[in-house]
Structures are given as C-alpha cells and as structure tokens.
C-alpha cells in the first residue's frame, strides 16, 4: 500500500542580529529543490518571532543559521518558547559557526542536528528528509 505523503514544511531563517545569510540562502534553495516547502523568515528574527511564524505556518522543522557566536543563548531560547507553547514536536536544527565543544550542550537542550562549516548540501538534504521518519 502506498500512502501519499505531503512535502515536509520547513521554516528557515536567521535568529538574532547576525546578517550573514550566504549559507542559509543556499540551504533554502537546496531543500526547495529537494521538494520541501520552505518558509524563509529572513534576517534579524527574535526567538519569539521565529516560534510564532513556525506555529502559524504549521511547520515540522525549524532550521536556524548563526555565525555570530550567540547560539548558546538564542537556540535554547527558541526551544524553551516552543515548549511553552506546546509546539515542541517541531524539530529544531541549526547551522553556522558552532564550535565542537558547544555541540553537546545544544544537543542536550534539544537541538536535533547541527551542521558545521563545509557540510555538503546533500548531507543536509538527506538529514532533513530523515527527520520525517
């Protein structure tokens, strides 16, 4: 039996003040080309704005990019807000300049996947697809 599956809905964007958007825009294109529905929330989003958009758009995944070193605060904050609003079934993934030693803390806080610089786009696409299972 085959079940028709709806495409994965993914919110992508930049949280915090950092404006480096080269990477996230390439991810937008790669995931869109892989058949996912992408909502791009753009730059300078607060954690509150990210969570509100995610709930409103009924996404299954939030992907956030940070190159400013503020991941230690902003990512757990997004997770906490999702939990507060009963939306912690949404998977949160992150990418950017995130050093190895910060990864255990972020994973413990509930970030599902972290993509560091140099990750092939195909790996990001496959990993996000894998979140559906």
């Amino acid at each position: 039996m085959t079940v028709a599956t709806l495409p994965l809905r993914v919110l992508l964007g930049k949280v915090g003040l950092d404006g480096h958007d080269r990477g996230i825009k390439l991810v937008v294109r790669a995931l869109r080309d892989a058949g996912m529905e992408i909502i791009y929330c753009g730059l300078h989003q607060t954690p509150e704005e990210v969570v509100a958009t995610a709930i409103q758009e009924d996404v299954q995944v939030i992907g956030l990019s940070l190159l400013s070193g503020a991941h230690h605060y902003l990512l757990p904050r997004v997770l906490a807000l999702l939990k507060e609003q009963g939306a912690d079934d949404i998977a949160v993934i992150a990418g950017g300049i995130i050093p190895d030693e910060d990864i255990p803390m972020l994973k413990n806080a509930g970030i599902r996947m972290i993509f560091q610089p140099g990750t092939p786009m195909s790996e990001i696409v496959d990993s996000v697809k894998g979140l559906k299972e």
Partner: protein, 531 residues
C-alpha cells in the same frame, strides 16, 4: 598521466588560456594602460617607491568581550609588531543597540567588543597613543556615532583632531548588498556618510571617513568582477552625493579609501586590485576633472578571504592565508589583515593571531618580494586579466546605470541576486567536485585535528549591563536629554549632524539612545528578499 582539461576557469569563472602572449594585448598601450608606479592611471601602484620606502600597515582586526578585554588584545598585537589598530565591534554595537537592550541578549561581546557609550570608548583606548597610531573601525550603521566617541576621547586627551589618523568603514551600500547591518533606509544613511566626509574634510584631515568595501560582497559569494564593480560603483555614489551636498571633489576625495578581499585565485586577485586603481582613476578624472592628483588615487586595505578558510584540517588555513597575503602584497595594498587559522571556528586566540601577523612579517622581511615595485607589471597574463576585470566591471556599471543607480538597484535586489547566483554556482561546483577544497572534498582524512578556540565568558554580558546601568545613574540626565533633543531637532533639518553627535556622546548619551532618537526621524528599513 592526468588528462589536460579542455576548459580551465578562474575562481570567478573567467575562461583562462593555456598560455598568454603579445596578441592578447592588442589595443593595450603600456604608457596609457600601465603607466608608472605613482602616476596616472596608477595600475602599478599609488607610489613610485612603494614598499621600498614604507611597508604596508599590518593591521589585525581585533575585538571581543569588554572594552578592557579588547584593549589588552590591541596592546598584545602592538607589542608583537603590529603597526596599526583595527577594531571589531559586537553585533549589538553594529546594530546601534545598547548592551541592555532585549535584542542584545546573548550577543554582547560575542563577535567583537561591546561599546555602549563614551565611557566604554575611553576604556577601549586607554593608554593607546591616538596621535601616534592609526585606528580603523569596522562600523557602518552607527559609524558617525562611534566616530563621535573616538573624537571625544581625543579631545579629552588634548589631541587636536588634525593629528588623528585612521579609517571609519562607514559604507552602508554594501550593507544592503551583503553584510546586512543597517539602521535606516539608504537615504538618511547616505546623508550621515556625507556629514562625516564633510566634517573630516574640515576638521580631521588625515582621517579616512569611508572605507568603500568589497570584502563583504565577496564573502557573500560574489565573483571578483562583481566585487570590483559593485564596490567602485558604491564609491562613485558617495562621491556624487558629497559633491551634490556642496563639496568640491578635491576637498574630500583624497580622504576616501577602499577595502578588498584577497581570495584564492592568486593572479585573478592581483589583477582585481590593479584594475580597481585604474578604473577609479579614470572614472574620477572623466567625471570630476580634479586638480589634486590624490583625488584620483584608490588607496586600500586588504583582508584575506574568511570564506576560504575551512573548519576541516584547520592548520591548512595558515597556508591559504600565506598565499593570499602574498597576493595582497603583490597587488600593492596600503594595509593588510591576515586571518587566523581558527577563524572559521571562533574569534582568534592570541597564539593564532600572532602567527597570522608573523605571516605578514615573513613576507615583508624574508621573501624579498618588496625589492621592486609591481614585479608582475607587463606580464601578458596579468595585464590581460586586469583588462578583463576592468571591462567586466564596466559592463556592470552600465547595467546599474540603466536601473537608475545603486540605491534603486539595491531596492530591486539586483546586486543581491547577482551575488546569490554566483554563490549558488560556486556551491554547485564544490558539491559536484568540479572545484577542489583540500580537506573538504579532496584529500579528506579522519585524523582529528582540533585547535584551541577563544571562549567568551558569559559574565561579559552581565558585566557590561551593570556598567551601563551605573552610567545611566551617575550621568547628568538633564544634559543628556538636552543634547538628544538638539540632535533630534538638527536631524529634521539638513544640518551636518556631527557636532550634535559629538555633544550627545560627551553627555554620555548611549549609542542606543542616540540611534533611537535618529530612528524617530529617519525610520527603519526592511530589505527585499532575494532567493
């Protein structure tokens, strides 16, 4: 044996021939296209003796944590032979926000130094002789306010403004195009830029009030030609705006400066710098006929390409930086920042930044490349690449002219789209192994190679917020309100805002308070999204 590929391209996608000889330079004339170093059109460099007379300024971009943390780092770099300062500010400062703003949470002191008021600026430059060393400040949206703080520090120390040397980045157009840090719409920002240019022309003669920057355009994924074209077009936009504000070109053009990226394609990068000097000299001459030859000179800073560094096998970055730094020197740059090997992971450690500085010192003192000026001048390959760079930039000039100028082009997302397409093309080439990056898609190994990284302690934020709250309690609130009110009033008119900004910072009005006041008059800005 490896097969010879039929099509070879530069990093930016220019097709490159197997060999270059005289026929490629048909129509090119050594006297008009090349000239002599120190003379129009400056292809070979701005000065006749270049590094034989004076080395480039070794200027490492530095900033993290509190003003005291960064003051210590700057003194460390000076102790190890750095010859100029360059300040990196944190994200809240770059966005004109105080450290205690709710939008600053988690970002204070993270990717640069936190500066909320003149008090922080005083600590940042404590015991640093501002009349003897030049300082570059990478700040754009709130550049005029940070500059006002620098001037106020000098004034308090009794240093006359005309003895201050340094550079304010203050280039907003490339923010909309690439780096994405702005406070207002383009028009009021350009007014603030012309205000700083006019103020410097009158009071701070040795200062570069703008550093027209291609660096960030390239980091966002542009080609070398796009970097060259958009940067020089931005420069011409500022010159136009300042001339329209009533200044003669010779009153300010000698104080303008530029900033370029040095990426991996060695010869293409050198050609880009040479083309930049020639194109600028020709365009300023054609449009404004200046009497002072310094108005024609494109003086520049160079930084090795951050985006070329890899997190994989990070020690390899030392080699990349060395090659890029050599290209910058052979390009005739006036100052240089070399990236540290760990900068794709975090801000650099002391050890990493010292090695990056030593890289410049080795090129200067051991390689002998400085013995003669423009050693590559006259090479068929270099001269033909220089011609192609200039021609490619001129094609973009035409397209932007047709749209109606850079501000309109930005509003339509034109440069943003061109850069995004180039960055996508490059990424595809890497994904399909058409471009090799050692350690990433070629010569990959599983040997772990971790390097120590700099940690920013979370107490920095609390410390800065406490300091700011004490400042707000101890300052003269009536005076603060008065200077802010006067600033607001002047912002509504077309007056030069610099004197009002200087008064405001001297009353210890904070960066966030000043920017907040200006936003009441100037409004804010949202970018067109280009995907």
């Amino acid at each position: 044996m490896q097969e010879c590929p039929s099509r070879v391209t530069s990093l930016s996608g220019l097709e490159i021939d197997q060999v270059y000889s005289t026929d490629v330079l048909k129509g090119w004339a050594a006297d008009t296209d090349l000239g002599n170093p120190g003379a129009f059109p400056y292809t070979r460099g701005l000065y006749s003796a270049m590094y034989r007379r004076r080395l480039w300024t070794m200027r490492q971009f530095a900033g993290f944590g509190t003003a005291n943390d960064t003051n210590r780092r700057m003194k460390y770099l000076l102790k190890h032979g750095q010859t100029g300062l360059s300040v990196a500010f944190d994200m809240p400062t770059l966005m004109g926000l105080d450290a205690d703003d709710s939008l600053a949470r988690g970002e204070v002191g993270r990717c640069g130094v936190t500066i909320s008021s003149l008090s922080d600026m005083e600590s940042l430059f404590e015991n640093i002789p501002l009349d003897k060393i030049t300082t570059s400040m990478t700040i754009n949206g709130p550049a005029a306010i940070i500059f006002a703080m620098y001037l106020a520090v000098a004034e308090r120390r009794g240093i006359p403004f005309e003895r201050l040397g340094g550079t304010l980045q203050n280039d907003i157009l490339k923010e909309y195009i690439a780096q994405k840090e702005w406070l207002f719409a383009p028009e009021p920002h350009i007014r603030l830029i012309t205000n700083t240019i006019a103020y410097c022309a009158q009071h701070v003669w040795k200062w570069h009030p703008v550093s027209i920057s291609g660096y960030h355009i390239r980091e966002a994924g542009s080609t070398a030609v796009q970097e060259l074209a958009f940067t020089l077009y931005n420069g011409l936009t500022y010159v136009d705006a300042t001339v329209n504000a009533g200044l003669a070109v010779d009153a300010f053009a000698p104080q303008l400066s530029f900033f370029f990226n040095v990426h991996n394609d060695f010869f293409e990068e050198i050609a880009k710098f040479r083309a930049a000097r020639r194109l600028w000299a020709r365009e300023i001459e054609r449009r404004y006929h200046p009497k002072d030859p310094r108005s024609l000179q494109l003086r520049c800073h160079a930084q090795t390409a951050g985006c070329s560094l890899t997190a994989q096998q990070p020690m390899n970055n030392v080699v990349r930086v060395s090659l890029q730094a050599l290209a910058a020197v052979l390009s005739g740059t006036q100052s240089l920042h070399t990236n540290s090997l760990d900068e794709t992971l975090a801000l650099p450690t002391e050890g990493a930044v010292k090695l990056a500085l030593r890289t410049q010192q080795i090129i200067a003192n051991e390689s002998h490349v400085i013995n003669t000026v423009d050693p590559l001048g006259g090479s068929y390959y270099i001269e033909s690449l220089t011609n192609r760079m200039e021609a490619g930039a001129r094609e973009y000039f035409k397209k932007i002219d047709d749209i109606g100028g850079m501000v309109k082009a930005i509003e339509r997302g034109f440069p943003q789209r061109e850069i995004f397409e180039a960055s996508h093309r490059y990424q595809q080439e890497v994904e399909q192994n058409e471009r090799s990056i050692v350690g990433v898609n070629a010569f990959v190994d599983d040997v772990p190679c971790s390097v120590p990284t700099l940690k920013i302690h979370p107490e920095v934020e609390l410390e800065q917020v406490t300091r700011l709250s004490e400042l707000r309690k101890s300052r003269d609130a009536v005076r603060v309100a008065d200077t802010l009110r006067k600033l607001h009033k002047a912002a509504i008119t077309s007056e030069n805002l610099m004197p009002y900004l200087i008064d405001a910072v001297k009353s210890y009005a904070t960066l966030g308070e000043i920017c907040g006041r200006l936003k009441e008059v100037f409004g804010t800005y949202s970018e067109p999204i280009v995907l």
